[in-house]
Symmetry: C2
Subunit: 302 residues, 2 copies
Amino acid sequence: MTLVENNGPDARLLLAALFPHTGNAHIIGVTGPPGCGKSTLVNSFTKLCRKGELTVGIVAVDPTSPFSGGALLGDRIRMRDLAGDPGVFIRSMATRGSLGGLALATADVVQLLDAAGFDRVIVETVGVGQAEVEVASAAHSVIVVVAPGMGDDVQAIKAGVMEIADVFAVNKADRDGADHAVLALRMMQDLGKNTIGTAGRADDGWEPPIIKTVATTGEGVAELLSGLDAHRMHLHTTKQYESRERARLSRELEAILQQEVLARLRERVPTAQLEDLVDQMVARELDPYTAAQRYLASGGLE
Amino acid sequence: MTLVENNGPDARLLLAALFPHTGNAHIIGVTGPPGCGKSTLVNSFTKLCRKGELTVGIVAVDPTSPFSGGALLGDRIRMRDLAGDPGVFIRSMATRGSLGGLALATADVVQLLDAAGFDRVIVETVGVGQAEVEVASAAHSVIVVVAPGMGDDVQAIKAGVMEIADVFAVNKADRDGADHAVLALRMMQDLGKNTIGTAGRADDGWEPPIIKTVATTGEGVAELLSGLDAHRMHLHTTKQYESRERARLSRELEAILQQEVLARLRERVPTAQLEDLVDQMVARELDPYTAAQRYLASGGLE
């Protein structure tokens, strides 16, 4: 696993060898604002899967700050909870490099878990930013988790998150405001249908269910599991499973290309030349687009 | 402005012509969780700048959902508030394309405003994800806004946000829990110093001030303005202004290269060939890394 994350030539050979064995796992993205209880919900969901003899791989994607150390703490709690079960594998991704790098590393680990035969692979992201949306949406089914009383419910699920949801979980549903949150989501769904004519990621005939959960007690988690299974069936019967696979793999190919092409350019063009271009930019003698042209020309990519 | 966002050849000529006139604006990034009152604070801040005869350009970066329409509504409120003042220019960026594309489009608009002579250019991002952090951190000074009572304060400012702050604003400081939020930030600062030996983005001798604000009444906004001016002075006296400019422009160059390189590859390799590679990936006959190699070989980048 570490081998794969380091992304060396050995890792690629391994991934190439394993790739034919992938394509069996149901890949589930989970996203939502910090503090909505995502991790607890994933734990609860995992325990229920295990009762049904399903194996679960969890990839927790968290570009965490060294200040907060959130991922580490969360993982310890989680490990204690699910420890010793060979049917569960948990991996935290906390790459602090580029966004593309994180997306790619996540895709690689998902493939490993898929090849290893896990029935469900859960990709859990922290935060509700654009990057988190991209990482989570590289899944077959996406759960968007919200919780009542987190400031403005509508605000909290902005930023393109609504469209990627296949299932909504209103977690902490034993708190005040849960019904309000459900209502707000339903209104946004109706609004979406009226204004752009679609619900969900595409006009695919799927209406994302809104499920109330209490992760700490397990309430509603069975409904969440059924909702996801129903979505998986829907993807298969409407042939959308393949189109999501296509989209997912195309995106991965694009991410690899971007990384590789830049790496090759760097091999071809001396570092001093790049530094020189940046110097000229800082001095306002050269604009960024012209600088890019010159760099590409030096690398033989005119 | 629209010309620039469309990113055609004309836009590049325009940006190249304007680039020598950039480098004068103080670029200020503003980020923080949804619902913390960022936009209201930016408005309040802008009004105070105007009293001091400073011109202000605002770039609101919001990959907004068509469901919520948040950016639109926010802009209308904002427009009403600051309308008719030629010393203020507001532009919403709601690119729904790739992350790199959004960062690049934002950088281009910032340059336009800089060249147009705005004294302060504010880049405001919604959300607290990794992409938002990247966009906001491409600034000379970064304000991280939090508000009391938004669930777990510490959770809400995870994800690498702490490190990029040059100034903290605890907004809605008239609410319960404001002192708690200040204390939590201070503890995280101390923790950061003890564990990794730095405060702020680098070990640069700057201790990010924590300022309580009430954006709706303007309370604390003058202190925010002084805090930012002090940071700008600090950057100049410690020669870090230039190093931040370097970092900002290097990042922009990299973003352009990433975009250009893929565009050039696409010109060289027929689309059908890419489709064919993806088909083989979906059929599990070809793994993503080998597919990337073949694509690069076809484009003459072995």
